[in-house]
């Protein structure tokens, strides 16, 4: 056994990286190169042994360090990130393992609170790699390995910022971290905005993975997301409502209603919530969800609907819709999902909503108070 390892270890990481790079360019040039694919698989599995060791032999920090340096020197991560769909099955998984380990790697002397060196390198010098990883969702072969690597990287807010603010086209250079301007509105064609289509239009496996990544982007780094949503409120919720909540896919629909509820009820997003529940159109959307013919969609819809009703400062538009539908709601709600008898919280919230609706005034009352009386509610949210 030991004999094999020594032979594997004796090759320098720099050699492996160089060979891999050559092979990658070869499979890019000719779509059908079985020999190159086979060799690539071998190189990648050697790299995997370097980064994670084997059950018997732990990895050597020096070797990993050398490998990380070589991949940066040769710009190998970029070549890998755009080639995953061309690799054979096992090599795709090995790439995912190697990539994730390299992203996490910290030299022994490195301060624990600082981002790992490769992360800093990516956001300052090679953000194209991150964008390429996102584009992995365009092919089903690369979607899942790219998704795993991406979610590893998105644990760092700087990476999330690149994904949110990049607006480059294919072939152009991507946005550097220092060029990010949070107050500038997005055009809506950057890589982040393509997630809506990847979730909505891909096959189930790709869609589900893209959704998981999308959710990570939206929920992991609160302050980043709050300011992004404030600046791009209209654009974001127009897409969210029209593409995700209206999706034909049961899973996309149900998961995104749930995500909407989580975003709105997150303390950090208070202003976003207030702006969202002011809109009569948003309320209409939610009330339609309550009448969906799938009960889990109704249930998730309820958890968004309750925010509209519970809001003590309902806009006139929202009050009008609720008042016009008061009788219908009061007939509807008591029987709504009435089999959830062991869900105490749900039952309590439902009866609370009934009470709120009973107590609505006859006519909408304009309750905008001076402090909130800034020109429009949205500008308040944007601030």
């Amino acid at each position: 056994m030991a004999f094999f390892f020594n032979r594997g270890r004796s090759r320098q990481p720099a050699d492996i990286v160089r060979t891999t790079k050559e092979l990658l360019s070869r499979i890019h040039d000719s779509q059908n190169a079985p020999k190159a694919e086979e060799d690539l698989a071998k190189q990648l599995s050697q790299m995997k042994v370097i980064v994670q060791g084997t059950p018997e032999v732990p990895p050597s920090v020096d070797q990993v360090h050398a490998l990380v340096q070589a991949t940066i020197q040769e710009d190998l991560l970029f070549d890998l990130s755009r080639s995953i769909h061309l690799l054979p099955f096992e090599a795709r998984k090995d790439t995912q393992t190697v990539f994730s380990h390299i992203l996490r790697f910290r030299p022994t002397s490195y301060a624990a609170e600082k981002d790992p060196p490769v992360i800093s390198y990516l956001v300052h010098h090679r953000p194209e790699i991150i964008v390429e990883l996102c584009r992995g969702y365009m092919q089903s072969q690369s979607a899942m390995p790219c998704g795993v690597i991406l979610r590893e990287a998105l644990k760092f807010d700087v990476i999330t910022a690149i994904v949110l603010y990049d607006q480059s086209n294919e072939g152009e250079s991507a946005i550097r971290l220092s060029d990010v301007k949070p107050n500038q509105r997005q055009r809506g064609d950057g890589v982040f905005w393509r997630f809506f289509d990847w979730i909505d239009k891909s096959c189930f496996e790709v869609s589900a993975d893209a959704y998981t990544t999308f959710r990570d982007i939206l929920t992991r780094h609160k302050s980043l997301m709050t300011s992004y949503l404030a600046t791009n409120f209209e654009l974001f919720f127009a897409r969210f409502n029209n593409i995700l909540i209206h999706s034909d896919s049961y899973v996309t629909k149900r998961q995104s209603i749930k995500l909407l509820g989580e975003i709105l009820l997150d303390r950090a997003n208070y202003n976003v919530m207030m702006a969202y529940v002011e809109s009569g159109d948003n309320l209409k959307l939610c009330m339609k969800l309550l009448r969906d013919d799938r009960k889990m969609v109704q249930y998730e819809g309820f958890h968004v609907f309750k925010v509209f009703v519970a809001n003590p400062n309902k806009s006139v538009a929202v009050q009008r819709i609720l008042i016009n539908n008061r009788d219908r709601l009061l007939r509807f709600l008591p029987k709504f999902l009435d089999d959830r008898t062991d869900d105490d919280q749900f039952m309590d919230e439902k009866s609370f909503l009934v009470r709120q609706i009973e107590l609505l005034p006859k006519e909408p009352v304009d309750r905008t108070r001076p402090t909130r009386d800034s020109p429009s509610a949205h500008t308040a949210a944007v601030a």
Binding site: S100, C203, D209, D248, R254, Y270, H303
Partner: protein, 589 residues
Amino acid sequence: MDDMSSHYQVMEELGSGSFGVVYKAIDKTDGEIVAIKHIDLESSEDDIQEIQQEISVLATCASPYVTQYKASFLKGHKLWIVMEYLGGGSCLDLLKPGCFNEAHVAIVCRELLLGLDYLHSEGKIHRDVKAANVLLSQTGKVKLADFGVAAQLVNIKSQRNTFVGTPFWMAPEVIQQAGYDFKADIWSLGITAIEMINGEPPHASTHPMKVLFLIPKNPAPRLEGNEYSNTFKDFIAQCLTKDPDLRPSAKELLRHKFVRNAGKPEALQELIHRKQDWDGGRGETKDVKYYAESLNTMTRPEDLDDDDWVFDTVKPPPMFKPKGTDWMTFDEEEENAPDPTQMLEDMHISAPPPPPKHQANSTVRRVPTDRSPSVRRANTKRRSSGVKQPLGLDLSYGNSPSTVRQFRRVSDKVPTDLNPAKHGFDENQSPKTVATDTSSKEAQIGRRAYSKAVGMSCQEVLSTTGDGDKREAISRLAEAWSDLEMVDPEGLYHIVRIMNEKLQADSRLSTLLPSTQPDSPSRPRLVLAQNNPHLKSHRRRQSYVPEPQPQSPPSVPAQAAPGMEHTKQLSDVLYQRWSEGLRNRWGGF
């Protein structure tokens, strides 16, 4: 999107379980026979993410010793997972005519070890190895199946803490939650070997809850008797080494004499033929169920209801839906609805199916990595039912050696026992229902208290107790609770209730006991108005978890609004958050 389901001709049902129903089907593009698992996502609370996890583990496996995943896609609210078809059935099925002989067990063990070696080298732990999850092809090939609770480790050396699996097959370190790795599968393999030679795992006649105490406490099971060879006994002893560090890996066990001398997989065809003969000899007409598209996967045209919401000043002309098409989602429950208008109203509430049956053949999955209650609370999703606490729910009902899983996947087919003549030991069968099944409110609460609190508490304390005598005492107590829950849940409720009252009533005790903080402000939960009529009953129900009422600031603008006094509580909270938002922006507010 292309309707993937049309690529398959679905035929008869192969079986059903916690996950849904499995059908045999033909892939129309190439004529290949496949197995398709239908999972009804409507009947699962919160576990779409978990199912995706299962798929991603499956989709990254390519080994002749693991059932091959082919595709998955959605059809309405059903998820179809297409797998390779294995015509030989599971080892558990093949055990029905009788136990395996040593030669057969050796072959199965070798093939399983090859499968586990593959998984483990991929950083995957199966976590639910048992005869029911070992499938055979017609030609005798052995494959690991059901990755419902499998785990993918990020790091080759990392460990898991999750309490997962099926009690009888669980390794001691999994039960003790002290961190475990690949070696847990090796223990389960040893138990599976005993299951194959004896027809059932050790402790099979014991209550699964009790088994959880016995496995860590007792010496590891051994195979005894002259009828077994020494190599076999040694193989079992190696697999069932209590210390996971001393337990050999799959690779090491592949060098064991017992499996090195094992025959070819083709020899297992004998077992398949034996089962066929047995089925034939019993004159059982196989009750074949064919796939029928259920009506509720079809979508009805929306917004035809004349009681639909009014959003515009122009009211859409009331439309009367043609009868017949409307009633299809109806459930029998609606039949006594008094008048048609009433029924129309109910329509959109989509007739509720009977509450999901309690399925003990589901697998418990819980994440107790952090057992401090506050932290767990914070992770808790907004719905109580989304966080099924596993043990009690699934295990308290009987002796079924169920796989334990935090959530239930309830199949839309009620798993009726088609085969009343079936005898023997079926680990995928519904549990026995307890004869004294009182259904009073108190009994329900009692059962819930047991499953959500008492049983869990015993297990938690046990897992943090090292001393043998103390452990013994605690497990006896846990058993006693479990017995009480089965015999007299009402009594259990009263004990818990009175205990709480007494604790609260004693001024010293009530102040000394650490108070629970069930509500963190960020938790998306509505606060009840003081005058909410349900608040009382809510408090009553949760009497032992005193709900902290948020402090109201002295003067709140929202209160001034007419008609809003009743929402004081809620508006306080919203106002607080709102003013905090202001403060953050303008500092001096």
